[in-house]
């Protein structure tokens, strides 16, 4: 009896939970409403199966519970019933598969005039690149990746000179225009996932993958990495902002180009270090504006007193900075995780970084 | 002497041992099929360079393994403990020589600077020939274990013969794969599909 009751409670509870819980799809921000429709259809069909079969079992458990003197029905099979059930199930399966595949056919067929932008994934930050005035992205190769060329753009390709390289962790796209996202990874697998857009794709080193969508409303959406990429996987964060056309154009005009970045000579203090910090992913965990991150902020770091996780106080000088960069596991600041990887850096590069950190007040 | 110590037990049927061997050969065949699939998939990347030449030692290896197969066949067919034992010794000797010849081929490849990590075709060469060699060693271990069975039990020798034919077939297939299947051939067959 208790078993039947619990099964009924499970059914009732599941239905209530489904309709009343606050945890549901994010409000959609792309054209892929059909994907949500396919999902709802799946809920409907599987929901019916879930309710019917659980209730059937509950009923059977009560009705056919052992009573002294009563035996089970004699052996029987019904091939007809089984084939009927197979048929009904097949109908249900087709009802799910057909709409699902119809949407999929559209998902893999981007419009030829879609706008393009590229996401480059790196442990553990994002880089964004847009085609410049010439409308196409320059060729890239991993072997071109360096501190001054974090995107690996082929310097010999004229098409790459005007590519727009987004600084910082926020990319903008215009509302209402189909966009095809090209995805690359320089080290391990990543995945560019924005729940509100619904569609997404892994980023595979050695390949360029893609997906497409049309942003349907304005907003600022969080980007998450959705393919395990090491211990920083949970903190590889970024934003996509969907702008109206004028705001988008304003933003676009403010972004540097590949040629532009190379041209500005290294006259500002700490510039080499700044480029290095962006190229190597330091900026992903150490903010320069004081905001909280996975690692201690560099704002005002040089010269302050830091508390380590063992309670000791340390004065942040050049020696401490060097040690923190070269052997990050040697001392951990209180309240932070011991997850900083040891990067391969030349002594000159370490000096550049230290000099840069010193400039951030 | 505890008969349960025997790998296959004195009381188990010939049929059981035969079935067991067929299943095992199926598993090993699957293993090499999967390596071959991996080989074909990896072949499609632009950095692929086919192996430039066939080390002459591999022809010797092939001959030795074929000779071992023939010797096992003979051991399975003749009567009389002495004849069986003689064929058995020849088969094992040829197999050991096969392994030596494979190692010699490895040295030749290495000397030609076709090292394991230089190129994926090389990597597959060492990997596949190495695993095949390990299965020959396994066969020799089993044959060694069955030495005392030689005189009385014809089944063991038949099973060894069958396994060795299988090893030979595998070797011929892998040899053909490593040196005969090129990206051009694959394109022809697959018509340049996805």
């Amino acid at each position: 009896m208790a078993l039947a009751l619990i099964l009924i409670l499970i059914v009732v509870g599941a239905l209530e939970f489904h309709y009343l819980s606050p945890w549901w799809l994010t409000p959609i921000a792309s054209n892929w409403q059909q994907m949500d429709d396919a999902l709802l259809l799946t809920f409907a069909i599987t929901g019916v199966a879930f309710v019917v079969i659980n209730l059937f079992v509950a009923y059977a458990v009560v009705t056919f519970k052992h009573q002294d003197g009563v035996r089970a029905a004699p052996t029987h099979t019904s091939a007809r019933l089984e084939w009927w059930l197979v048929g009904a199930t097949t109908v249900g399966i087709v009802a799910l598969l057909a709409p699902g595949l119809a949407v999929y056919a559209k998902l893999i067929d981007p419009p030829p005039d879609a706008m393009v932008f590229e996401v480059l994934g790196q442990q553990w930050q994002w880089h964004y690149r847009l085609p410049g005035k010439d409308g196409k992205l320059g060729g890239t190769n991993v072997r071109f990746i360096s501190n001054t060329n974090p995107y690996g753009i082929d310097p010999a390709d004229p098409g790459g000179q005007d590519d727009v390289l987004v600084e910082g962790q926020e990319v903008h796209i215009p509302v209402g225009r189909p966009v095809r996202v090209l995805l690359r990874a320089q080290d391990v697998l990543h995945d560019f996932y924005v729940p509100e857009f619904r569609t997404r794709m892994n980023m595979v080193p050695g390949m360029v993958t893609s997906f497409w969508f049309t942003p349907s409303r304005l907003g600022r959406f969080e980007v998450m990495c959705a393919q395990l990429c090491g211990i920083g996987h949970f903190n590889m964060r970024s934003h996509v902002v969907v702008d109206d056309e004028p705001a988008y154009r304003t933003w676009l005009a403010a972004q540097p180009t590949f040629a532009g970045l190379a041209a500005t000579a290294g006259d500002e203090a700490g510039k080499q270090g700044r480029l290095l910090a962006q190229a190597r992913g330091c900026a992903a965990c150490h903010s320069v504006d004081g905001s909280a991150g996975v690692g201690p902020s560099w704002k005002g770091l040089f010269g302050k007193n830091e508390t380590m996780n063992n309670g000791a106080t340390v004065h942040v000088d050049e020696a401490y900075l060097r040690e923190s960069i070269i052997t990050p596991s040697a001392r951990i600041v209180r309240g932070y995780q011991p997850i900083m990887p040891a990067q391969q850096l030349t002594p000159a590069e370490v000096t550049q970084l230290v000099d840069y950190i010193k400039t951030i007040k | 002497m505890n008969p349960s110590l025997y790998l296959v037990g004195e009381h188990t049927d010939t049929l059981r041992r035969r079935t067991g061997l067929w299943v095992f050969m199926g598993v090993v065949g699957m293993l090499f099929f999967l390596f071959s699939s991996a080989y074909l998939m990896r072949m499609s990347t632009p950095d692929w360079r086919p192996l430039p030449f066939v080390p002459a030692q591999l022809w010797l290896s092939t001959g030795l393994l074929a000779a071992a197969s023939v010797a096992w066949r003979r051991a399975a067919q003749v009567r009389g403990a002495r004849a069986v034992r003689a064929a058995y010794v020849v088969a094992c000797a040829c197999s050991l020589a096969f392994l030596a010849s494979q190692l010699w081929a490895w040295r030749a490849m290495d000397a030609a600077r076709l090292t394991l990590d230089a190129n994926p075709a090389n990597s597959f060469f060492y990997l596949i020939t190495g695993l095949h060699g390990l299965h020959v060693i396994g066969g020799l271990a089993a044959a060694g274990w069955a030495y005392r069975d030689l005189g009385r039990n014809g089944v063991t020798v038949q099973l060894c013969a069958r396994y060795w034919h299988f090893l030979l077939a595998l070797w011929l297939a892998m040899f053909g794969l490593l040196f005969g299947v090129t990206p051009a051939l694959v394109d022809q067959i697959c018509g340049g599909g996805p």
């Binding site: 391990v188 595979v204 949970f234 | -």
Partner: protein, 578 residues
Amino acid sequence: MGYGGEHPHSFWTRYVWSQDHKVIAIQYTITALAIGLVGMVLSDLMRLQLGFPGRFAFIDASRYYQFMTMHGMIMIVYLLTALFLGGFGNYLIPLMLGARDMVFPFLNMLSYWFYLLAVLILAASFFVPGGPTGGGWTLYPPQAILPGTPGTEWGIVVMLVSLLVFIAAATMGGLNYVTTVLQARTEGMTLMRMPLTVWGIFTATILALFAFPALFVSGVMMLFDKALGTSFFVPAVVSMGQHLPHQGGSPLLFQHLFWFFGHPEVYIVALPAFGIISDLISVHARKRIFGYKMMVWAIVVIGVLSFVVWAHHMYVSGMHPYFGFFFATTTLVIAVPTALKVYNWTLTLWRGDIHLTVPMLFAIGFISTFLIGGLTGLFLGNVSVDIPLSNTYFVVAHFHMVMGVSPVLAVFGGLYHWFPKVTGRMYDVMLGRVHFWITFVGTYLIFFPMHYLGLLGMPRRYYAYDHYAFIPDSAQALNAFITIVALVVGATQLLFVLNLWWSAVRGREAGGNPWRAASLEWHTPQTPPVHGNWGERAPVVYRDAYEYGLQGGDSDYLPQDQPPDQARQAEPARGEAP
């Protein structure tokens, strides 16, 4: 046909270096349960971090990923696969078929010791420099072998070596199970008279024999990439600022190989569970399993199809998009025979004579949890519905329900059900019922809501979820709730272990066939069965294993080995009653 083999005499040959399939089965079971408890503790540690982020300083991000990886690998391979095949398979196959032992007893014994070695090697990865690998149980390259992932020095190497040893063990065992089923059935035991437990384990073994090689291939190639500088899977990359010497490798190649193993692997776990559940329901509802023939065909068809669905784990991998159509179709097709099995279990209950014994409770719990687990599989198998859900908690909830909950309920049901045969004693019924209720209700409370966190878009394999605007605070509260329930359910499993151990030593005697079951294993001359199982004469079988529901006469069932002209014997078997 008498048994001419020698019986072992010393303590060592009887209980340690035993070639008796029953002893080997118990060795497998104890080892699997032990490492399974370790896996469960690891999941508790993960849940502590997820439920109360940052509260437990020793669970840092690196350790979290290591616990996560080891939890997954232990549960899937070292617990479930080993327990169903090496534990249940070893014990039941000869007994259910009327054989005296497996056909290759020495090889069988070796398989256990290789399995134990694999377990010990895996455990050793906790003690090597850098600790165990944190690359996820799926061990995807390049990250599993590049800096940035825990355990890339030694942990991943130890893990791969352990898996290779396990595969050797599984092959040795598998050869035994398959050959025994094909060649050692007693007189009258045709294939279509075998209990479904044997069909499930037999088919799963064939799957294992042909799927594990794919893991072997991918594991060896990854070892080579890691240790010998080859480029099977690693393309040109810049890792932590360094240009590595690899080039041209394909991460997707690993995924294809891994999932070619990985998908059949889940059926290697599910098919024995299906078989066991069929037998539990039939025996405890005193009714012939509905549609035996279709049940056999369903098992075989599912087994075959399981080899052509693998890339549904790769819909967002970047593989060629056209593959999505093919694999979505095959995946949804495999749902049909699976659904048929669910229908037939419920139809067996219909007009049955249902005894709600502890095994039956678990069997019914299986139906409910496997149902929801399988249904959510329809979401994930349909490529376009999967795309937003891939790598979210929806997937985690799905695979826990369908791999972690329902097969484990089948394990518990099976262990309780055959406990009297193995030990000659009955388990403590009240403890068993408490175990069932807490586990069944608890796992629903843990995993049902989890689907909705996935629908929301919370990615899996995240150490923490700091300040995401789209994740409401209530999600964190839910995580805390799930953690509490998980800890309670985890602690309850200790009750189970206690029950097994205490009852084995002090439980009341249960007789040879307390469930009045028809299948052969319940009709051994001694309980527990001794070496050789059947005494002087092997049994002869006259019918299949499901002759229940007989009307009139003293007994409602007919054992498989009872000659047709003999009168039905009434047995005063008491079942669970004291």
